[in-house]
Symmetry: C2
Subunit: 118 residues, 2 copies
DNA sequence: CCTATAAATAACCACTTAGTTCTGTACCGG
DNA sequence: CCGGTACAGAACTAAGTGGTTATTTATAGG
């Protein structure tokens, strides 16, 4: 539960690649999937997918099962929860920025209304 | 507002380094800071920090001002909001996994209570 | 104008990444 | 036991990362 730097490193790094995000998305909607099934929609070799899976596995984002010669991939969502928690630490901050933006927009609107009267 | 792949790539990549996360944390609590002030607590040269800032800037996480020869760094939280939104798309999923974990723990507790009676 | 300061840029280095192809291994099924 | 299938591993390559030191640019100020 430590939310250590190295964990964040690994999870954010794993999420920084579109192929890996697509893999996660697919696991989320289809459940466990084999490596071959995963590789099929990508214009990419099977070993390339295996490498991506290793990155995801190192971040704890997926786990691997065993079904004969297949190694089904399973989504483990916990690291996602952890990085989300980390990000939510900044929520107040961007909220404040958005609020200020709202203020600016309000003022702008007020000015336009004013201009319309002239 | 497109939440495009390349944006997520850049933001997640920027967040995958502990030095860069520390920079963001410092900006969040101290407000705008110069490069020299930023570099001071790190065992790292000024150009190294400048490089990290360029990564953060490319991801839109910081912007740069101008104060004489200083280039104060300003936190821009919007990309954080965007990746948080992306992550929250998985919230239902990890929630479900946690619920299932709760069930298991409940069952375990029930079994222990049962065992205690014998 | 000259010097000092803040920061960016350049050139370089070791290491990692994301991909490839080829090969090896484990397991199933006839 | 033998051929096929599913995957992992090794070896290679091109490009990117994270750091360094040395240099350059921009600006303030005596």
């Amino acid at each position: 539960m430590a939310l250590e730097a190295a964990e964040l490193d690994a999870t954010f790094h794993a999420l920084s690649d579109p192929t890996r995000r697509a893999i996660l998305a697919r696991l989320a909607q289809e459940g466990d999937v084999t490596v071959m099934e995963l590789a099929e929609p990508f214009a990419m070799s099977q070993p390339a997918i295996s490498k991506h899976l290793k990155v995801l596995e190192k971040a704890g984002l997926v786990s691997r099962g065993r079904d004969a010669q297949r190694r089904p991939v399973h989504l483990e969502a916990q690291p996602l929860a952890e990085v989300t928690d980390w990000l939510l630490g900044y929520r107040q901050f961007w909220q404040a920025q958005f609020d200020r933006l709202d203020d600016v927009l309000d003022q702008l609107q007020a000015l336009e209304k004013q201009a319309g009267k002239n």
